[in-house]
């Protein structure tokens, strides 16, 4: 069971990584294309601004989700490590609870928000706003999976806190 879970999470993160890479590359290409069309061909693309914005939201949200795998988000960790072990363990459990709750809220309220977007089309690209709004619950789902995996890993190595050096780089 644990093996299946690990393979699934690793696969999900590798997939996310490639989507981020592809998305970011397309993003750079789109902005450069926009410059060529606007200044050289003097024929501005009406849809490019919107496409860039939506793609950026997707890419950054996926990157945020990926960062949860190794707990890479910015924090003031020094005081946490100075606390006595029982306090540190308590804080670690509290932080995990708060993080998991936050991610769950994003999924619970992100799905209806995306469905609501289905009724409106964007002015430039003429696509349903479901597409950009879906980024929040999808990314929150990956965040949640990564957070659960991170929590399980902590329990497995019997150490709460900085485990970054012990994790496999994907």
């Amino acid at each position: 069971m644990i093996r299946f879970w690990t393979v699934f999470v690793d696969f999900l993160n590798v997939l996310t990584k490639w989507v981020i890479l592809l998305g970011f590359s397309v993003l750079v290409a789109l902005v450069l294309m926009q410059i060529v069309w606007r200044y050289i061909l003097e024929w501005p693309l009406p849809w490019s601004d919107e496409a860039i914005r939506y793609l950026l939201v997707w890419v950054t949200l996926l990157a945020i989700a990926r960062a949860f795998r190794n707990d890479e988000h910015l924090r003031l960790g020094a005081l946490f490590y100075k606390c006595a072990k029982p306090i540190r363990n308590f804080l670690w459990i509290l932080f995990n609870f708060l993080t998991l709750s936050f991610q769950t809220l994003l999924i619970i309220y992100g799905i209806p928000n995306a469905i609501l977007g289905n009724f409106t089309n964007s002015p430039g690209l003429d696509i349903s706003l479901f597409v950009p709004y879906l980024s929040v619950p999808v990314a929150a789902g990956i965040m949640l999976i990564n957070q659960i995996d991170y929590t399980l890993f902590n329990f497995r190595v019997k150490e709460f806190g900085d485990i970054r050096k012990k994790r496999k780089v994907l």
């Binding site: 902005v31 450069l32 890419v59 003031l76 005081l79 708060l98």
Partner: protein, 430 residues
């Protein structure tokens, strides 16, 4: 009362090491629970999405990518050589070169932590080898790194301009003299300490041929920030377009000129930049939740009302805002400080008749100085991790540099022409 509970939650979570972005989000949710209950919860998703879906912020990932590509192209080594050429004959030459390299690197990276990693990894071991103490090497690296977010083109200037709707071009130009003064202040401190402690200087001469190569290599790299700043200031590009051109330029430099970037390096650069952007955008998105709470409590209006008796004494308002921002800079990351407090203090500053561009420089210098202010300045921890010196040890040697930067802050605060002369000359301000 609600606000007191929210602020206490915010400070406690930050203090004990909860991620900065989540701290903002959770504190905002605490406010929702205290006021509207779960009826407000759909707002969380709207604020997260709305915080990221901004046209002005699109340039940020491109600036990060351009800086990262330049770094991978071996630019650090070339800037070190150039700095050594410029200040190598001064007492404590390697420490002076560290400061100059940071100042130049600032125009490429725009981030203090990026500066610590790139410049520190070269200079700290080299300085130790030359007889400088480890803690002094770390202190010089940390102190000089905080010039990065000030010298244009800077990421935090773009963020501030996006939040406060000020001109990016005007802010870029306004930051030039304060940034230069910060570098000069650090150099003066190193000179005094080097003479006192008898630190070494470079003795071997550099041949004319080596000097020419060194200048040529560094110039190729330094064209990038020039493209960005000139493009934006003279209105040739939007910030996003300038950033995309910078990416293209960095790509050409890395692949064609310096030949340091292969396909794998390019992929790594894109991925690392996307991850850095993601972490930054997460803070921006989550701050949106908390700033909504502040707006609901009418905090900006309350602040203006609170200070209404002091409107005829703007110097006092500036002193109090300086103290507040310096304190918050110790705790919070630059991005969070900008998104939380700039909209709160903005109306007060306008009511007191202070120029918004002038105040933007005061704001950024303050929160930036907080990064090396003990006990929680984030740059202190980054230099400690890199140099393996303890934070209290680094603090013992960083104080002279902290004082020099505080003097620059005081000058910028009370002599507005320092930050306003260039924007006025360029026609940005009346």
């Amino acid at each position: 009362m609600n606000l007191v509970i929210v602020c206490t939650t915010l400070l406690l979570l930050l203090f004990f090491g909860f991620p900065v972005a989540l701290t903002m989000g959770v504190s905002g949710i605490v406010y929702f629970l205290l006021t509207g209950g779960i009826d407000y919860f759909p707002m969380i998703v709207n604020r997260i999405y709305g915080g990221m879906d901004s046209f002005v912020l699109i340039c940020i990932p491109f600036f990060i990518l351009a800086g990262d590509m330049m770094n991978r192209s071996g630019i650090t080594e070339r800037l070190v050589n150039l700095s050594n050429l410029i200040v190598g004959r001064l007492p404590g030459s390697l420490a002076q070169a560290n400061i100059v390299a940071s100042g130049i690197f600032a125009s490429i990276s725009g981030s203090a932590l990026g500066d610590v990693a790139a410049i520190g990894s070269v200079f700290i071991p080299a300085m130790k080898k030359q007889g400088f103490s480890g803690r002094f090497s770390a202190a010089v690296t940390g102190a000089s790194a905080i010039v990065s977010p000030i010298i244009p083109p800077s990421l935090i200037i773009i963020l501030y301009a996006a939040v406060m709707d000020t001109s990016i071009g005007a802010m870029f130009v306004a930051a030039i003299i304060p940034g230069f003064l910060m570098v000069v202040g650090d150099m003066v401190m190193v000179h005094i300490l080097s003479v006192k402690r008898n630190y070494p200087r470079r003795i071997d001469p550099i041949s004319g041929r080596d000097a020419a190569k060194c200048i040529r290599d560094a110039t190729i790299a330094l064209v990038m920030p020039l493209i960005i700043v000139a493009g934006i200031v003279f209105g040739a590009f939007t910030p996003t377009e300038a950033a995309a051109v910078a990416v293209l330029y960095a790509f050409v430099v890395g692949v064609v000129f310096f030949r340091k970037m292969n396909f794998r390096e390019i992929l790594n650069s894109i991925f690392d930049s996307a991850m850095s952007s993601g972490k930054l955008f997460f803070i921006i998105a989550c701050v949106g939740i908390l700033s909504w709470a502040f707006a609901m409590e009418e905090v900006p209006q309350q602040i203006v009302a609170l200070f209404s008796g002091l409107m005829d004494r703007p110097w006092l308002i500036l002193l109090l805002t300086n103290l507040f921002l310096l304190f918050m800079g110790m705790w919070l990351d630059l991005t969070a400080n900008i998104f939380l407090f700039a909209p709160i203090l903005g109306p007060l500053i306008i009511a007191a008749g202070i120029d918004p561009i002038h105040f933007s420089m005061i704001f950024l210098l303050n929160v930036n100085l907080g990064n090396i202010t003990p006990p929680l300045g984030i740059v202190l921890f980054a230099t400690s991790e890199l140099s393996l010196e303890s934070v209290p040890d680094i603090v013992k040697d960083i104080w002279p540099f902290w004082i020099s930067k505080a003097v620059v802050l005081a000058l910028v605060t009370y002599m507005p022409w320092i930050s306003m002369v260039l924007p006025k000359m360029m026609g940005f301000a009346g």
